[in-house]
């Protein structure tokens, strides 16, 4: 398990992490959800003992990330955001290298990586630098797993990866979780949040919320309306003028309008729109998504400051 207490990190004037506290349970698949620059990588690098915090403390399976850094590295597997295997070594040589560094062999822990590694094994004599994005990702995960870590830290493993490969990657993570490995994974894709046991929404160095995805959705404090309109852009401009409205954002083919709890009903919103000449529109109350939660929390933070 991972315990983070009041971790603070600053680069010059820029506060990367502002007194962040968090605990991740053993065997949990925990998601750190937020855009670039939110502080995800800084937090993960501190946990991996690659970066020193300016304040606070953190431990993994009881080992302190500063004092016990050598031991930390033996019980954790890490996949950094940037591909950092040896491009001039072959697939097999990379894997062998990581196994040897950690004093083990590919054979000893093959069962852990089998599902993943089998997909790239036909290319085991190819140099890692010549692999496609999806294959690099599978090799990096295999290398992070080969010493049988108790905790896996994955920094944006699915960024820039297409929708199909992303889905496959999450299926792999689920299988690893079943084997009892604690996993912390970061992502800028809000739709991946629902695949985690629990998530933290992070923005500008602050954890805005920590809960299960469903609990976050259930506790959405305002009313949310899904509006179908032939002219999304025009309708959203128009809704900006709806009194006390909180936000109107496009979500693919529908518009999500957020209004204070209990203030409007679908009829009154429809009426407002038809008064402004928009008639071919349907308004329905809808369940929030994690992206709606994130947008609302960002909005509330802005209002406060």
């Amino acid at each position: 398990m991972i315990e983070i207490k009041d971790i603070h990190k600053q680069y010059g004037d820029v506060v990367a992490l502002e007194k962040v506290s968090l605990s991740v349970k053993k065997g949990e698949l925990f998601g750190l959800i937020g855009p670039d620059g939110a502080g995800k990588t800084s937090l993960m690098r501190i946990l991996m003992s690659l970066l020193l915090p300016d304040g606070g403390s953190a431990s993994m399976n009881g080992l302190d990330v500063v004092a016990d850094f050598k031991k930390i590295r033996t019980i954790t597997g890490y996949m950094p955001g940037r591909f950092s295997l040896y491009p001039d070594l072959t697939v097999e040589e990379n894997l062998k290298f990581f196994a040897t560094v950690f004093g083990t062999t590919i054979q000893e822990n093959y069962h852990l990586i089998k599902d993943i590694y089998q997909q790239i094994e036909p290319f085991k004599t190819r140099r890692a630098g010549k692999l496609s994005g999806g294959m690099k990702q599978k090799l990096a995960l295999s290398c992070a797993l080969i010493h049988k870590p108790e905790i896996l830290i994955l920094d944006e493993p699915t960024t820039g990866v297409d929708a199909v490969s992303r889905k496959e990657f999450w299926e792999m993570l689920k299988r690893l979780k079943v084997m009892g490995i604690t996993i912390m994974v970061s992502t800028p894709y809000m739709d991946e949040a629902s695949l985690c046991d629990r998530i933290a929404l992070i923005q500008q160095g602050n954890l805005m919320s920590v809960a299960t995805p469903q609990a976050m959705i259930n506790s959405f404090p305002e009313d949310l309306w899904a509006i179908r309109t032939p002219k999304i852009y025009n309708t959203s401009k128009l809704l900006e003028q709806l009194p006390s409205m909180i936000s109107a954002n496009s979500f693919g083919q529908v518009l999500h309008l957020v209004t204070p709890r209990g203030m409007y009903n679908s009829g009154s919103i429809q009426q407002f729109l038809s008064q402004h000449g928009e008639t071919e529109i349907s308004v329905e109350m809808a369940e929030a998504t994690i992206e709606d939660v994130f947008i609302l929390l960002m909005h509330n933070r802005k209002e406060k400051s």
Binding site: G134, T159, A163, I232, S250, F251, G252, E291, I295
Partner: protein, 242 residues
Amino acid sequence: MMTNEPVITVKKMVKKFGNFVANDNLSFEVYKGEIFGFLGANGAGKTTAIRILCGLSTPTSGEMKVAGYDVYHQTEKIKQNIGYMSQKFSLYEDLTVYENIRFYGGVYGMKVADRKAKTKEMLDRLELTAYENRKIGDLPLGWKQKLAFSIAILHTPKIVFLDEPTGGVDPITRRQFWNLIYEAVEKGITVFVTTHYMDEAEYCDRVSIMADGKIVALDTPLKLKEQYNAANMDEVFLKIAR
């Protein structure tokens, strides 16, 4: 404001690297004022095709015209008539906001008075006037991406190519970015965009999906969803690209 006037015409485009066929006989048209989504799995051949259409790479065979110019012989003309931005390459981090604008204005051969007028209009629109002397490297990613896009269309090109412009950007900025795209379209600029966010595919007038070097689907999001019996573009993509 989509029209029926083609601004990009691609006929039987083929690009080979040795024995590897990166683009296998692509044919399609993009219309003036359209938002054209260019989707596909990693390695499907999207970047190769974009490089050819931007005049940066010569195709093996086929007939292609971009903004009325031939991709074999008129690449310089093409470059003058398009804008380009990607997540990876956008602006110079060590130059200020203003210096970047001046640099790109120069590269695109804009007249000084025109550049100054457009610079002011753009900085006001982005609410960045107070930051014009800040280095790009000091700005948050979302601001950079909005600025990079605005600079890519500063010279009012006929077409702007956007290669994963919103990757890693926060959800509010991502939507503000799409508002900028809509505004560009209002000015008559054609938008050619790639993305891994499937909700963004819904915002395109038409979407093409590539797999293994071929275009396997091309239609409006609505028609694609009907054709593949899918609730959203995410499902369409998974059905086609898997």
